[in-house]
């Protein structure tokens, strides 16, 4: 089980430690630093490192390393999932999770960590339960507490902790009852030099924001549930009904949560929303890229941006863009073009020259272009919610569904 947690920043300071069993000296982090020396980029830190007496299981998020140590055989995914949960909870509490925030709220952080794990066993990891135990900070409450001498720590046992639906607290009340669903689809694709698709798949999510009073029991049906054959469900969903009727039936948690995530595999045909026409030659020092929409069902492509990690030998770029701004960082050699919206009548284009550094040898590697984009009001897989019904409560909620398609890991090989 999880023994201790160390939070380390990229410059190698251990600025927070928490032990759930006996204290492990932070010198154990030296093994971590040894590994860290070997890697070229902070994301390459190996997730599992064995030391003579401990195992270090690490995640890298928000430019921070969260290093858990264990002494015994343990399921590493359990530890990794837990660490990610810790960061999620911090983000949920403080809006974001970085070194400054953690240092500012160390007491709450410490209390949270203590509440989440007991002797290495997860105790309470649901955000709504934790929020009942330890109130999230806000200015009003801080002032009120200073005046009245109250604290952020609740004295009563959270109601949801032990019920059969631990994800929902009882006695929720809202003046306006609303339920919003975002169907978000991220397209992961690799497109080769010739423009043919090497690989494409869709990673989809339905994220919810639900503010409903009492104990609402919801069912969501889809126009075309067939495409959902590989999905992960939030524990609140009744699996049997999904399996038999392809209906999502659930009592939702209160607030924001991810209802399902699904995966449309590379074996089905995935629409490619954007194409790239490109010419790049380092020998000639030329670059010419045009971006255009492909299968977008007539929707506008927005927030388009391109990123190219150039080979080390590139010294500078001198380009003109038909729209948007471009930057080239001569240190990291990353070229970035912020395109914005794609106007179909005049496709965005960037061209010009790239200069190689003096004495640089031949360029060995071909760069890869990562593209970002957003298309609103479209789910690229064609998934569509047909209806949402509520049982168990009498009021009429306001319901809304929004569709967004985004680029996930969307890459062009040049």
């Amino acid at each position: 089980m999880i023994h201790s947690l160390f939070i380390i920043n990229v410059s190698g300071d251990v600025f927070m430690e928490k032990h759930w069993k006996s204290v492990i000296s932070r010198s154990v982090c030296d093994y971590f630093f040894e590994e860290q020396k070997k890697i070229s980029s902070p994301v390459d830190m190996p997730p599992v490192v064995a030391t003579p007496h401990h195992y270090l299981i690490t995640i890298f998020r928000n430019n921070l390393y969260f290093v858990a140590t264990t002494t015994t055989e343990v399921a590493p995914l359990f530890v990794l999932e837990f660490l990610h949960r810790v960061v999620d909870i911090f983000e949920d509490y403080f809006g974001e999770c970085n070194e400054t925030i953690i240092k500012e709220h160390y007491v709450i952080i410490y209390e949270l960590l203590d509440e989440m794990l007991d002797n290495g066993f997860p105790l309470a990891t649901e955000s709504n339960i934790l929020k009942e135990l330890i109130k999230p900070p806000n200015i009003l409450r801080t002032i009120a507490n200073t005046v009245t001498g109250k604290t952020n720590v609740s004295c009563t046992l959270p109601s949801g902790q032990l019920s059969n639906i631990p994800w929902r607290r009882s006695g929720v009340k809202y003046a306006n009852n609303e339920a919003y669903f975002d169907v978000i689809e991220e397209v992961d694709a690799i497109i080769d030099k010739n423009g043919s698709t090497v690989f494409a798949e869709i990673q989809g999510y339905i994220d919810c924001c639900i503010k409903l009073s009492g104990m609402p029991d919801l069912t969501m049906t889809f126009v075309n549930p067939r495409s959902l054959d590989d999905l992960s469900l939030h524990p609140c969903i009744r699996f049997k009904r999904w399996e038999n009727e392809k209906v999502l039936s659930f009592i939702p948690p209160d607030g924001n949560f991810r209802l399902i995530s699904y995966h449309i595999s590379s074996q089905s045909i995935v629409a490619i929303p954007i194409y790239l026409k490109h010419y790049i030659s380092f020998r000639e020092g030329k670059l010419d890229i045009t971006v255009g929409p492909k299968q977008t069902m007539g929707r506008q492509v927005e927030e388009v941006s391109l990123e190219i990690p150039m080979p080390k030998s590139v010294a500078n770029c001198n380009l003109t863009a038909s729209q948007g701004r471009y930057t080239f960082d001569p240190v990291s050699k990353v070229f970035h073009w912020d395109v914005g919206k794609i106007d179909i009548t005049k496709l965005p284009n960037i061209k010009g020259s790239i200069s190689l550094g003096a004495g640089a040898g031949p360029v060995e590697a071909n760069p890869t272009v990562t593209v970002h984009f957003v298309i609103n009001q479209m789910a690229v897989s064609g998934l569509k919610v047909s209806r949402l019904d509520m049982y168990g409560e009498k009021y009429r909620p306001f319901k809304g569904v929004k569709y967004i398609t985004k680029a996930g890991k969307y890459q062009f090989r040049l």
């Binding site: 600025f15 927070m16 928490k18 032990h19 204290v23 830190m45 997730p47 007496h53 195992y55 995640i59 890298f60 002494t71 015994t72 055989e73 343990v74 399921a75 590493p76 995914l77 990794l80 999932e81 240092k103 500012e104 709220h105 160390y106 007491v107 709450i108 209390e111 203590d114 002797n119 066993f121 997860p122 990891t125 801080t142 604290t151 952020n152 609740s154 004295c155 009563t156 046992l157 902790q161 032990l162 631990p166 090497v198 798949e201 990673q203 590989d230 992960s232 939030h234 524990p235 699996f239 995530s261 995966h263 595999s265 590379s266 990690p309 060995e364 590697a365 990562t370 890991k409 890459q411």
Partner: protein
């Protein structure tokens, strides 16, 4: 107003200031002070000096303050055990608090304070909390038992907490069940015996499966992990558990998914219903693929596990090749794992795609990754024969890029391709030779040299090329030196005319100027070979090489099976069994359940089928090591051997092998049916005087004197003929009346000796008449250990009376004909038997040569496995097997011309040693 203010310090001693604040009368100030203390603690400062002051703040109604003080206590109680006692009263009081949150908090914190004195006080409150009306308290208490076990295992057992914990498995609240499962499995893991505390049976499993649906995600992980330790009693049960677990595959938590995969992979082994397995297999693919869209760290663990799953059941992911394609911004650890799985999934159907991907990767930036991609192309060529040509073309393209490390890797893999497909792609050699100068890594240089040597006849300037390497011979890596030596010898054997000088040069460099014993030895061997018998040298050096196998990096099947049981654990990430790396873990090793409903019968099939596949790999390893003894060259002088180690015996036993084979043949003939007058071999080995088999037969001794036998005198002996033990007896009637109605019976004895047929004595036996009777015996009777071991109690009945006597059976009649142990097995067994099982004896006044010892023992089914000569002494290594299957290994030291032999006897059952020694004595003196 943030917590950051707690970090600010004043110049006046910080600890001093905190001390006065902690003792302040104002509650508010106290709380702030405790927060400051905690702040210092989180960043690793030592604030243990404030212990008494902080503990004083513990008595409070303010829950936050209480929690903070508890946090402090957990960290520092160990360093201040006497002070920690001060806190006990408050804990005990809090355990009675009406608020369940406080009760739980108290019992939880007490368990974290690892001070012996405190644990004594913990028992009573813990007992109460385990039966608390509130499930929150019960589930906290369950974990507390595990904490306590870690501190004082004996106490937990004595106080009966384990029983209480087991009771919680039937708790009405699923969260309590999950925590009880987790606590029990942690206790199990740390218990030294490794024997499960809770016997998993159908009702328990049922309870767990019910709780599985209702408890938290973490609880599901614990429950699934303990289900994976259960072996269902039959196929039906396995199927029904699988069905109830399958929904977990759709869980959002990756750890739950992988733990479910583990259980399913294990139980699938038991299921014969192919349709069920196919459906299950189809259900496994999507969740595994989904894991690959999680965070990179999760992907990594998933990939390591998929690597195992793909080796065990390649079908599951055979259509999912594309999800393993590498994205350029994947972390390097993900890239390398994906590449590995791509090669495992490569097949004729998808090879084109795989190759074009690999070629793409070979132009990436990351050097490690590029290298591995180039290697992967080579592995594809070896794995999928149809693709070999395309792979070679791709590699040539890559060589043309002239990127240094790409070229070097390519040459290393091309060497393997040449070995796999001889005489197919040699046309590319000239292209390879162009890149000779750029090679600076030992492995690439060695590979290139190997290629030049192997194909010397096709490369016109092979001699020049090799000569150019030779210039810097002394600076080369030993791998390159060895390769260069061999390559030049090959060249010489192929083109002796113009390379004589070169070969002499390299031989002298290797033998005279080098400190590396491997290199020197190889140099000498070649030298001697070339100078004595060039034809033999050709046969040895240019011998046909065995083809390299397709997948060299597959895990050994038994290890794979064990690892499948450990999917989702650290073991699965390291691809090592937990016993290999988890400290102090002596636990039972897991094994996949046997397939089939028959249970016992089919499981034995499973194990036998598993065995041959494991042992060969082990075998070939040793085989390689020992292959030297096939070389007639190895007639080097005996090395001073320190003890019985490794390959010495075999290395030096070469000459004896041939001799032994003849002896072995003789041994066989013994076993063959009637070795009457005819058999030639029988004649040769029938030296033992009148006795046909040559086996030693002790002279008859008087077993039953007439005075005790009421006139019947019995003398006799035992012998082994044609694989059968005989009791040869002479009955003499010294009485005045005729005797008849003979019968014989044996008491239970050590080897289960039993008459195979009724005693046949020609009756009646008249006074003063003698008769011979030979009674065949077998060893299938009841066994009882006798003292001495070879003691046999016999009852003979005749018309006069029942007569009893005891006799000693000479041990050698129990030596069976198939007692010849394989040489390698012998080596291994000798090492495996602990030294305390070795017994030494001396045989004095001996006058045999070692050869006659070999022969004499051979005739009695003692087989000489190896012979060597150490400092003039002959050492014989012999094996024999007893009728009850006990193997005995013997080392005999025979000094030159000496008469005192030293006998070292090793056996798993050390009791037999005395008897074996006696048998040697008897045989060698006969």
């Amino acid at each position: 107003m943030t917590d950051a203010k707690y970090f600010t310090t004043t110049k006046k001693g910080e600890i001093f200031e905190l001390k006065s604040e902690l003792n302040s009368d104002k509650k508010e100030k106290k709380r702030e002070a405790v927060k400051k203390v905690i702040a210092s603690m989180t960043v690793g400062k030592d604030v243990s000096a404030l212990f008494p002051d902080v503990v004083n703040c513990m008595q409070t109604d303010n829950l936050e303050l209480k929690k903070l003080v508890y946090l402090y206590l957990m960290n520092y109680a160990k360093s201040q055990p006497d002070m920690a006692i001060m806190a006990v009263n408050t804990f005990v009081k809090d355990c009675e608090d009406p608020n369940p949150l406080i009760r739980a908090l108290a019992v939880r914190t007490m368990g974290c304070i690892r001070v012996d004195k405190i644990t004594e006080y913990l028992c009573e409150p813990l007992r109460k909390c385990l039966k608390d009306e509130d499930p929150y308290v019960r589930k906290t208490a369950a974990v507390c038992v595990a904490k306590l076990y870690d501190i004082n295992a004996q106490l937990v057992e004595d106080q009966g907490f384990l029983e209480q914990l087991k009771d919680l498995l039937s708790d009405s609240n699923p969260m309590v069940v999950a925590n009880a499962v987790a606590a029990l499995s942690e206790i199990n893991d740390s218990s030294p015996s490794g024997v499960p505390l809770v016997e998993m049976n159908a009702p328990t499993i049922n309870k767990l499966l019910t709780a599985l649906n209702e408890c938290t995600e973490w609880g599901q992980i614990f429950i699934l992990d303990s289900l994976s330790n259960y072996n269902p009693k039959d196929e039906r049960e396995a199927q029904s558990i699988c069905e109830r677990i399958t929904p977990r595959l759709a869980h959002a938590n990756a750890a739950v998914v992988l733990s479910a995969v583990k259980v399913l992979m294990k139980y699938m082994e038991m299921i014969n219903d192919t349709e069920f397995v196919t459906v299950l297999t189809r259900k496994l693919a999507p969740p595994l693929v989904t894991l690959l869209s999680s965070e990179p760290e999760v992907q990594y663990v998933a990939l390591r596990n998929i690597n195992l799953i793909v080796q065990k059941r390649p079908d599951i992911l055979k259509h999912e090749m594309k999800v393993f394609f590498v994205k350029y911004n994947d972390p390097i650890y993900v890239k390398l794992e994906k590449l590995d799985i791509m090669i495992r999934l490569a097949s004729q159907a998808n090879i084109a795609q795989v190759l074009s991907e690999l070629k793409e990767y070979a132009t990436e930036v990351d050097v490690d990754f590029v290298r591995k991609a180039v290697r992967a192309i080579g592995r594809c060529a070896i794995k999928v024969e149809q693709s070999a040509e395309r792979c070679v073309a791709t590699l040539l393209d890559l060589i043309q890029t002239k990127v240094n490390y790409v070229v070097q890797e390519a040459i290393v893999v091309i060497k393997d391709i040449f070995r796999k497909y001889p005489n197919k792609y040699e046309s590319i050699i000239s292209t390879l030779c162009e890149n000779l100068d750029t090679l600076d890594e030992p492995e690439a240089r060695a590979s290139m040299i190997w290629i030049i040597g192997e194909y010397a006849e096709r490369i016109d300037n092979a001699d020049e090329l090799l000569e150019s390497f030779l210039e810097g011979f002394a600076d080369e890596n030993s791998q390159v030196q060895l390769q260069l030596l061999t390559a030049i010898v090959k060249l010489f054997l192929k083109r002796p005319a113009d390379t004589q000088e070169l070969v002499q040069q390299v031989l002298s460099l290797a033998t005279q100027d080098s400190d590396n014993p491997d290199l020197r030895d190889r140099g000498y061997i070649y030298w001697r070979l070339l100078s004595t018998d060039p034809a033999a040298a050709k046969e040895v050096v240019l011998a046909e090489k065995p083809l390299i196998s397709e997948e060299t990096d597959l895990l050994e099947p038994t290890l794979l099976d064990e690892l499948i049981c450990h999917i989702a654990s650290l073991a699965s990430v390291y691809h090592k069994p937990p016993s290999a790396f988890v400290e102090g873990r002596a636990g039972l090793r897991k094994a996949l359940p046997a397939r089939g409903e028959g249970g016992v019968a089919s499981s034995s099939v499973e194990t036998t089928s598993a065995h041959p596949s494991v042992i060969p790999s082990h075998d070939t390893l040793i085989g390689d090591l020992l292959s030297m003894d096939l070389n007639p060259v190895v007639q080097t002088a005996a090395q001073p051997a320190s003890g019985f180690g490794g390959g010495h015996v075999d290395l030096l036993g070469g000459g004896l092998d041939a001799l032994l084979d003849v002896g072995g043949g003789g041994g066989m003939s013994q076993a063959a049916p009637p070795p009457g007058g005819g058999g030639l071999l029988g004649d040769i080995f029938g030296l033992g005087g009148g006795d046909q088999s040559g086996a030693t037969v002790m002279p008859k001794v008087l077993w039953l004197p007439a005075v005790k036998g009421k006139g019947l005198e019995i003398s006799g002996t035992f012998s082994r003929r044609n694989g059968q033990i005989y009791m040869d007896m002479t009955f003499t009637n010294r009485a005045m009346q005729t005797m008849s109605g003979f019968a014989v019976q044996f008491n239970k004895n050590s080897f289960g000796l039993l008459p195979a047929q009724p005693l046949q004595v020609p009756a009646p036996l008249t006074p003063n008449q003698s008769c011979e009777a030979s009674l065949p015996l077998n060893t299938t009777g009841p066994v009882q250990k006798m003292d001495p071991l070879n003691n046999l109690q016999v009852a003979v009945k005749n018309n006069v009376d029942v007569l009893y006597y005891a006799c000693l059976v000479p041990m050698h009649v129990y030596f069976v004909e198939d007692g010849q142990m394989d040489k390698r097995v012998f080596l291994q067994t000798w090492k495996d038997i602990p030294t305390q099982n070795e017994v030494q004896y001396t045989l004095t006044n001996m006058s045999h040569s070692s050869d006659s010892v070999v022969q004499k023992m051979q005739q009695n089914n003692v087989f000489t496995i190896a012979k060597r000569n150490v400092e003039g002494q002959d050492m014989l290594y012999q094996s024999l097997k007893l009728t009850n299957g006990v193997w005995v290994l013997v080392e005999i030291k025979i000094p030159p011309g000496g008469s005192v032999y030293t006998l070292s006897i090793k056996s798993v059952t050390v009791d037999v040693a005395a008897g074996v020694y006696q048998a040697y004595e008897n045989i060698l003196r006969s």
